[in-house]
Structures are given as structure tokens and as C-alpha cells.
Amino acid sequence: MKKFDKDRLILGFAGPVLALVVAFALSTLVLLISNRDPFELYRLLFEQVSYSDVQVLIINQAGAYYLAALAVAVGFRMNLFNIGVDGQYRLAAMVAALVGASVTLPGPLQIALIVVVAMLVGAFWAGIAGILKTTRGVSEVVATIMLNSISTSLIAWLILPKNFGEQAAGSNNLTTGDIPEAGWFPGLSLSAEAGEIYGFTFVAAGCGLVYWLVLNRTRFGFDLRATGASESAAQASGVDAKKMILTSMLISGAIAGLVGMPTLLGDTHTYSLDFPVGLGFTGITIALLGRNHPVGIALSALLIAFLDKASSPLDQFGFEKEIATIMQGLIVISVVVSYELVRRYGTRRQQQKVGEELAAGHALTTEKEAAL
């Protein structure tokens, strides 16, 4: 039994290593074909990481990515595909910013209010898809795609100055008004030039811990994973599948509601037209890369954030920064393919081993029988 565990450990490492080697080789190939020096590019990318301001940028970005990926991962564990994280977090951030700007409460309460509002709005928006799925049988994939587009329009309408928005003097940008200072989440300042790490990034890390505990150490988490693995089997053992679908959609939406919080509470303190978009889609990539495991997701969030942030100054050095997007795509493909290959190799090896043992056992008995 112990020997088997060692095999599994080696195979566990083989997957990511194979993936990284393949992705690295393919990226190098792309660069060579387009007549760019790959090693110079890799050197530049890693040089960027040594600057402390870039480090802070990466960590802050990774925090938001982490939350988006957790929201997607909750769905994935349930066999639900929540493409709508993007719409959920934007609507949640916008409404939370509105509430935050119009209410004044003492410090922590103000922050708590904003966060709770964001979670409720995110859950509400995802819940629409959940209810449509459980009562009307509408595929959550289509419903959340539609809800993404609807939330874009809804935000555009809500933020008009005649409704709830404000237009700053001398600018075309619309905002929801500033959240009073009591609602600013304090950050961790490393040094004056590096900037500060958003305080909410640590909350994000905490969410990862809660995610792991709930999924792996509670009855609810077990039910959720069981329903994801086989709905009919779970139902046979007394799990209400419809209730599980709705609950996990609501949880996924509530986490999605948090995605905009690091930026909102730590940096902009208002929702404006240039609030970051598309985090929800990146979250899907990251959840896939991290295989829905909180630690895996954290590592992949850092990797994707690194490629995003370290690539932006590449233009100055004669490289096209779009290579980072290609690298992200190549990484996802090589990771999933190599995981699958390693899994197949593992199964085959195990089968062979069992086969050999059985054959040996069989030989023993026949010898015994022969002796008798």
C-alpha cells in the first residue's frame, strides 16, 4: 500500500511538470517562429517580478482572481457551470458601491454592510439562473450567459445621472459617488513606492480556507460533491438534488459578489464605467487550472496574474505583450491534456500491477495445488 502512495506522489508531480515543460516549449516555438528571442522575453518577465511594485500588483490581481475562481469552482464541484460570475460581480459591486456611498455607519459596520449587500446581490443574480434551472429546466449555461448581458445593460441604466449615478465635473466617466472613509478596507503597506496590498486579499485567502472546510469537512460539502459526482446516486441516498442546485448556485453567486470587493474597498471606493471587467471569465480558466482545489486555485491565480502584470511593459522592449494571452491559452491546454495523460498512465500502470500480482498469486496457488 505504501509503495502505491509513492507512485501516486510521483504521478501527482508529473502532471504539472509535464504541463509546464510542454507549455514552455510551445511558447518558445511561437516566439521563434515570429522571430523574437524567447529567452530574452522570459528574462524580462522574471525581471519584472523582482520589482516590489509589480509584486504588489500581482498579489492584488491574484486576490480578485482567486475569489472569481472559487465562485466558479463551487459550481464545478456540483457539475454546474456558472459562466455568469462576470455579470454577478459587476452588478454586486455596483449596487454595493451605491449602498456604501449613501449610508454612513461606523467603520467596520460600514464595510460589513457593503460586503453583505454585494454577497446578496451576487447570490440574487445567480439565484435567478438557479430557480430557472430547478423549476423550468433551463440550462444554467445559457441562463447565466444571458444574465451577463442583461446585467451589463442594467448597470448602464442604473449608473445614469438621472437614476443613481453621478457625473464628476469635467469628465465623461460616470460613478456611483464615493464611499465615505469609514468604508475603506485598510491595506498592508510594504513601502512607499511599492503601494499597498489590499486588505481584502487576506479575506480572499480566508474564503479559500472556508471553501475547503465546507466542502471536505461538512455534511453539506459531502452532499454537494456527491450530487456533482452522480445526481441519481445522491438522490437515491436522500439528497434533494434540486435544493442542492439552488443552494450551490446561491453560494457561487455570493462568492462572485465578493470579486469586486478588493478593488472597491481597497482602491477605487466607487463603481465607475472603467471598473475592471472580465474577471469572471478569467476565473473559469483559473478554476480549471487549479482543478477546483483551493491551493491549486491560489497557485494558478498567481500564475495568471503574473503573466498579466509582468507582460504589460513588454511593449517597451520590442515584444508584443499579447504573447502573454497566447501563453495563458497554451498553459491551460497543456495542463488539462497532461493531467489526462498522467491519469491514464496511472490507471494503466495500476491495472498492470494488479494484473501481475494476480498472476503471481495465481501461480502460487497452482504450485500449492501441485504440491498437494
Binding site: F81, V138, V142, M146, I150, T325, G329, V332, R344
Partner: protein, 420 residues
């Protein structure tokens, strides 16, 4: 299982299931719907709802969505979920524009298809050969397509006069045909704003005025797809891979081969949709031009119950609502509120007839709210107009999703030799 039992099982749904709509019934429904639209147009005075330009615009907007939907249909009928349609469309827009700029529009179309096929082939390699989750692969292809096209633009369009790393120079268009005589006559007829006749004229006029040849090709692809998939042995084998690959394998069908063909064609169709966008709809390649149409195509396919005709209807609906909003939409969509309200009244009666009182009550309340909204306002905010097609889709799906049936083995990974 004995043969008799199996025969009985197959025969059972025929008697007990829903009646199939015959052609006269379908025509009657279409005529009824048109009469209703006509009535709404006359009450609200939104004469643009069925004008020649409106129908033409709707058709042009529906084609890329429909082509993506057809692509989705091919792949999913063979059991492969293709969420990478968006990426394959992006490849189509770029390759179409790149080749179209150098060698003329028809080479652009060809290269658009090739670009999409490459995306489809990659999807097939990852999902069929390596057995990776289909959605994962699709998402990866979407990322990769964005990266590749942006990267390549730096080396191609950025170096051309009038182009940049984000868009191509102006492209030569594809010939447009207008049926002489008929087009003008229909236009005149439509201008009279008569009940029903003008609306019919508007629709026919829209179909015969300044119609791009590529649109004709795209329209023909719908019946061709139906014929190939449902009337040939090739199609039967392909669909059997989507329903039960193990059974297909037992009967000697090379499941991998059919899946590869289906997914590659799927990519080609999405690529054609992309090429249509850059060559016909706008005559220029722009970054982010597809704007999620691949996903919308997927929605249209689900809306159409994985059938070409239904998919085309869904794409048409998207195209129509899109074009309503482009052509000074506030008034038109305002008229649509009335249409929706009247439709809901019909639904209420239908549900009362079926003795579903709760559903009838809900529909009645929503209908009442829509009537109130219609009479209290003159226009719908433009942001709501943007959302109209998506809300419509959600509503329609909510009302009809339970009747949908996707291919049985859709999205299920399959490995050669599983049946043994």
C-alpha cells in the same frame, strides 16, 4: 432484450407523445403571428417594425449567430459540447480579413472557414483523442484564439496603411444581389402601411433587397445541414455518436472519425460566421468584433432544441431584436411591449384551458404590468433595448425548456473500446 420488447419501446412515444406539426399548421401559426405583429404595428404606429430595412438588417445580424449555432449543432449532434465556438469565430474574422485583404473576398471566406476548422480540429484533438472535459477545452480555445489573433495583427495589419494592431484596413465587400422589379414593388407596397399586406411585403422585400451572396450560402446551409444529418447514412452515423457512442461502435462505426469530422465542420461553420462579420457585415476586421456571438449561437441552438429549423428561428429572433435596437430602437421596442403583453394574454387563455390556474395568474399579472408600462410611457430606455434579446431568450427558454432534449451522450467523454 427480445426484439418485440425493443420494437414496442421504440413505437411507444409515437402514440403518446406530442403531435408533430404539419406544414399547413406551421404556415397558419406563422400567418397568425404576422397578423398579430401587424395589428401591434397599426395600434402603436411603429411602422418600422416590419420595414424592408428592418428585415434586411435582422437577416444580416442573424446570419453570423445562425452559422455559429449550426456549428454548435454539428458538434453537439456528434456528442461534443463546443463552447469554443466564440474562439473559432474570432479565428474566422481574422483569417477572413487577412486573406480577404490580400486576395479578394471569396478567398477571405475560404480562409475564414480554414481558420475556424483549425480551431475545431484542435478542439477535436483535445476532447476526442485526449478525452479532456469539453468545456475546459472550449474555454482554452477561446483564450488562445484571442491571443493568436491579437498577436498576429501586430505582424500583419499593423504594417499595412490604414490598419493597426487592433483593426485591418478597409476590405473589399462581397457582391449583393437585388431582385429587380420585385424589390421595388415590395418596397412600395410596404410604404402603404396596410394591415398584413404591407408586413408581408416588408418581409419579402427584406429577403430580396441587397442580399449578400454569402447570406444566400448561409441560408442554404440550414436545409443542407438538416438533409445531411437526418437523411443520409453519414448523418445517421454521426448522430449515433452523439446519442450512444458505444452502440455506434458495436455496429462498426468509427466513432473517433465521425467526431473529428463533426467538430472540424463545426469550427468551419463558426469560422464562416466570423468571416461574414468581417467581410460582409462591416467590411473591416476589428478586435473583439464577435462580441459573444459564439455564445449567443450556442443559446440559439439550445433554443431550437438541437434542430436546424429551430436554431434558425432562434437566430432570427436574436437578429430581429438586435436590428430593432440598432434602428432607432426606443419606439420599436416600445411597440414590442404591446406585442409581448398581447402574447401573454393568449398564454393566459391557453393555461386556463389547460387548467393551470397559478401559471395563468402569473402570466396575467405580468401581462397587466406590460400593458401599464406601455400606456404610461412613450419610449423604453435604450439600455433596456440592449437587454431585450437576452430577456426574450430567457423568457422563451423558461416557457419551453422542458420540451428540449439534447443528444443523449452530449458532453460525455468517450474512449475507443469502451463497449467491449
Amino acid at each position: 432484450m427480445s426484439t418485440e420488447v425493443r420494437a414496442a419501446r421504440v413505437a411507444a412515444p409515437k402514440g403518446g407523445g406530442r403531435r408533430k406539426l404539419s406544414l399547413p399548421v406551421v404556415l397558419l401559426i406563422i400567418a397568425g403571428a404576422l397578423a398579430l405583429v401587424s395589428l401591434v404595428r397599426i395600434i402603436s404606429g411603429a411602422n418600422d417594425v416590419t420595414s424592408v430595412g428592418q428585415v434586411r438588417g435582422a437577416l444580416e445580424l442573424a446570419v453570423p449567430i445562425g452559422l455559429a449555432g449550426l456549428g454548435g449543432l454539428w458538434a453537439e449532434r456528434a456528442g461534443v459540447v463546443n463552447i469554443g465556438l466564440e474562439g473559432m469565430m474570432i479565428l474566422g474574422t481574422w483569417f477572413g480579413a487577412w486573406a480577404g485583404f490580400q486576395w479578394g473576398p471569396w478567398m477571405g471566406v475560404l480562409f475564414g472557414i480554414i481558420g475556424g476548422c483549425l480551431g475545431g480540429l484542435l478542439h477535436a484533438v483535445i476532447t476526442v483523442t485526449f478525452g479532456v472535459n469539453h468545456i475546459v477545452s472550449g474555454v482554452a480555445i477561446n483564450i488562445l484564439a484571442v491571443g493568436v489573433t491579437r498577436y498576429l495583427s501586430n505582424f500583419t495589419f499593423a504594417e499595412e496603411p490604414g490598419g493597426s494592431s487592433k483593426q485591418s484596413p478597409r476590405l473589399e465587400g462581397i457582391d449583393k444581389i437585388t431582385v429587380p422589379g420585385l424589390s421595388d414593388w415590395m418596397y412600395d407596397l410596404q410604404q402603404h402601411h396596410w394591415f398584413f399586406v404591407s408586413d408581408l411585403a416588408g418581409i419579402i422585400g427584406g429577403l430580396v433587397t441587397r442580399l449578400s451572396l454569402l447570406t444566400v450560402v448561409a441560408l442554404l446551409l440550414v436545409p443542407v445541414t438538416w438533409w445531411v444529418l437526418w437523411r443520409t447514412s453519414f448523418g445517421l452515423r454521426l448522430r449515433s455518436c452523439g446519442e450512444s457512442p458505444v452502440a455506434a461502435e458495436t455496429l462498426g462505426v468509427n466513432v473517433y472519425k465521425y467526431k473529428y469530422i463533426a467538430v472540424t465542420i463545426s469550427g468551419g461553420l463558426a469560422g464562416l460566421g466570423g468571416a461574414f462579420l468581417s467581410l460582409v457585415a462591416t467590411s473591416i476586421y476589428q478586435e473583439g468584433q464577435t462580441g459573444g456571438r459564439g455564445y449567443i449561437g450556442l443559446a440559439a441552438m439550445i433554443f431550437g432544441n438541437w434542430m436546424p429549423g429551430g436554431m434558425a428561428l432562434g437566430a432570427g429572433l436574436f437578429g430581429f431584436t438586435d436590428s430593432l435596437k440598432l434602428r432607432g430602437g426606443a419606439d420599436n421596442v416600445h411597440a414590442m411591449l404591446l406585442l409581448l403583453a398581447i402574447l401573454l394574454v393568449i398564454v393566459v387563455f391557453w393555461q386556463l384551458y389547460r387548467k393551470k390556474y397559478v401559471a395563468a395568474l402569473i402570466s396575467a399579472v405580468i401581462s397587466g404590468l406590460l400593458f401599464t408600462w406601455y400606456f404610461l410611457t412613450d419610449q423604453v430606455p435604450s439600455q433596456f433595448v440592449d437587454a431585450a434579446p437576452y430577456v426574450t431568450t430567457l423568457l422563451v427558454l423558461a416557457l419551453s425548456a422542458q420540451r428540449l432534449r439534447m443528444p443523449k451522450a452530449d458532453g460525455v467523454p468517450y474512449r475507443k473500446g469502451e463497449g467491449k
